[in-house]
């Protein structure tokens, strides 16, 4: 099928360019506006603390002599920064993988299996999104604590907890994408005698990759940046297992001094989630689903 949209030479191209200028302008303006606050923080992270309260960050651009890497050095020199980084990885990776897997099976069931009460149950699961995490701490900690399983302070506590907390959204998102898949695909598979298990692994899962990628990005991000859940389930009991977020908050906890360290720490901790985002970006590719509609 020849595309009628291939670039045509001559006047067509020029007018296309002109029509696209506003597009580029809008996108670039949005990008700049979005970046200003972050750049402000980046500049401030490179300045000495006295400068922060005395002059705005933009002034630093005109007097580059004040730039210093001291804040970063201080943050990275903390004795437990590497440990914190490693702990964060230990916590985040399983806490991303498990909920996605568990949710995928549940989402498929909600999307393509009929059973009584399905819609009400699904909506109830989504409704659980509104439960504030803080109100679950005491009952769960009682379960984890010395009166219960006595596993407080270990990574297992947060793996399980983050899975529980992350499931409502994960199921919601995956079910939405799975439900959008073309019915014909599954019907023809059923006619061909494929079991639901096969349909799930061979058809549903590959076609839902963009959604899974998005979910992985978010779940990883939320767990990576989480402070409170780790503090409650691990921190108080076992500081050796404390993730990077707790290590960083130790820098600033007394009387609010130390903005400059917080600024530097923010960029240090941001690096990995950003890398995850860029790495998974390529799964947001057009045509994964589109290609399956034929026939």
């Amino acid at each position: 099928m020849t595309a009628a949209t291939t670039q045509t030479a001559g006047p067509g191209r020029a007018s296309r360019f002109v029509r696209r200028v506003p597009l580029h302008v809008v996108v670039i303006v949005l990008m700049v506006v979005w970046l200003i606050p972050t750049i402000g923080l980046l500049v401030n992270s490179l300045r000495p603390p006295e400068a922060l309260t005395q002059s705005g960050w933009w002034t630093a651009i005109f007097s580059p002599s004040q730039f210093t890497l001291n804040n970063y050095a201080h943050v990275l020199a903390q004795s437990n920064v590497t440990a914190g980084f490693v702990n964060s990885l230990f916590i985040s990776i399983p806490a991303t993988v498990i909920p996605i897997m568990v949710a995928a099976f549940a989402a498929y069931a909600f999307a393509w299996m009929k059973f009584p009460g399905r819609d009400i149950l699904f909506v109830a699961v989504v409704g659980l999104l509104v439960v504030p995490l803080q109100s679950t701490f005491i009952p769960i900690l009682q379960l984890y604590g010395p009166k219960g399983l006595n596993i407080a302070g270990s990574f297992l506590t947060v793996w399980l907890a983050h899975t529980g907390y992350g499931l409502p959204f994960a199921i919601y998102l995956l079910r939405n994408f799975m439900g959008e898949l073309p019915r014909e695909v599954f019907e023809s598979a059923a006619i061909d005698g494929a079991s639901p298990v096969t349909a799930f692994f061979r058809l549903a899962l590959p076609m839902t990759v963009p959604a899974i990628a998005a979910l992985a990005i978010f779940q990883f991000l939320f767990v990576w940046n989480d402070l409170l859940v780790s503090l409650i389930f691990i921190g108080a009991q076992n500081p050796d297992n404390a993730p990077l977020t707790i290590v960083v908050s130790n820098l600033v906890s007394s009387l609010g001094g130390g903005w400059q360290y917080l600024a530097a720490a923010a960029f240090v901790t941001m690096a990995l989630p950003l890398a995850v985002f860029l790495a998974l970006q390529r799964y947001f590719v057009r045509g994964i689903v589109g290609g399956s509609v034929k026939g």
Binding site: H24, V26, V27, I93, F105, G127, Y165, I288
Partner: protein, 325 residues
């Protein structure tokens, strides 16, 4: 550290393996049962792991909350609807309710609207990844760091001291006196400023999801319509939007609930002063600072009831979708 690494690897490889094995096993078991029973049992077997987690971590505490919402602070006797009555007659609560409503409306509108706009626009430029990363970066910054950034944006210094805040400095260069932004509660202005902070972070969230959905739209559909002479606007209204509708519903629902639960930004930037209090913050105050789990639970139940309309809309949408599918 070795020990924990081993545990982590076992978990990362083992849990998926166990789950897959579980599904495979249940399928084998189902094959032994009659043909008719299979489709009736299978959904529950597939849902079981998820339901187990949900019950332990979310449902069980919520039931506890429900019971506690009818009890006094020490949990020693039942006080009926007293906690709820306290919540709705308390001056501070009424301000918090108003603000939470503002958060709900403004945050959702901004994040979903901008998220959609960006997703559509960057779809057509070659530097798409860069643009999306820029919008996404704020989400990667922790809440505390984000609050610090915006503290610097909104900062106010007593004149004639130099302004450190970006906004006030901009005003200064235009010759206007600095403003204590977060103290202005007229028309809930400061609440909206706080919402903007969260919108700055969460637009990336909506954008990523809507972008993924956008990519799922068959490009041939759009091409065919273009060939038939449809304008971009008609394409959007007639094809893109309807196809995005389910995902939009997911994003809107999620943002509405996120808005109701939002409190981190309020906590760091104003701690509820200057009329910026929100319901979620009240909940946490009552629970951890004032040691009144009864009232905190009542607030939690109010939040739960508040999303019932949203859930009802979701059900209606599913039923309508089913009819089409």
């Amino acid at each position: 550290m070795d020990q924990r690494l081993v545990t982590a690897i076992i978990v990362v490889l083992g849990v998926p393996a166990v789950l897959i094995g579980y599904i495979w096993l249940t399928e084998r078991l189902l094959n032994r049962i009659g043909q008719r029973a299979r489709p009736r049992l299978r959904p529950w077997l597939w849902l079981a792991p998820a339901l187990a987690f949900l019950v332990v971590f979310l449902v069980y505490p919520t039931i506890g909350s429900l019971i506690r919402s009818f009890q006094n602070a020490a949990g020693t006797k039942f006080v009926g609807l007293d906690n709820f009555a306290w919540f709705f007659t308390n001056d501070a609560s009424l301000i918090a309710l108003k603000n939470s409503l503002i958060w709900l409306v403004v945050l959702t509108a901004l994040t979903v609207g901008l998220g959609l706009l960006v997703a559509i626009l960057v779809d057509r430029v070659r530097y798409e990844t860069v643009a999306k990363s820029v919008i996404f970066v704020p989400l990667a910054i922790s809440m505390v760091a984000a609050s610090v950034i915006w503290k610097f944006m909104y900062d106010y210094a007593t004149p004639p001291d130099p302004q450190v805040g970006t906004l006030n400095a901009a005003l200064g260069s235009a010759g206007i006196a600095p403003v204590a932004w977060i103290q202005i509660s007229d028309f809930s202005f400061n609440s909206i400023l706080l919402v903007i902070v969260m919108a700055w972070m969460w637009t990336g969230f909506c954008m990523v999801i809507l972008s993924a959905a956008l990519k799922g739209i068959n490009p041939e559909l759009l091409e065919a319509a273009r060939v038939d002479g449809a304008s971009e606007r008609q394409l959007f209204r007639g094809i893109t939007l309807p196809l995005l509708a389910p995902t939009l519903a997911v994003v809107i629902t999620t943002m509405v609930i996120t808005a109701l639960k939002a409190f981190d930004i309020v906590y760091v930037m104003t701690s509820g002063h200057f009329d910026t209090q929100v319901v979620a913050f009240q909940l946490i105050n009552e629970l951890y600072n004032f040691s009144n789990p009864g009232r905190a639970s009542a607030i939690g139940i109010v939040l739960l009831l508040a999303i019932v309309p949203v859930m009802a809309l979701n059900i209606r949408r599913f039923r309508a979708q089913e009819a089409i599918r």
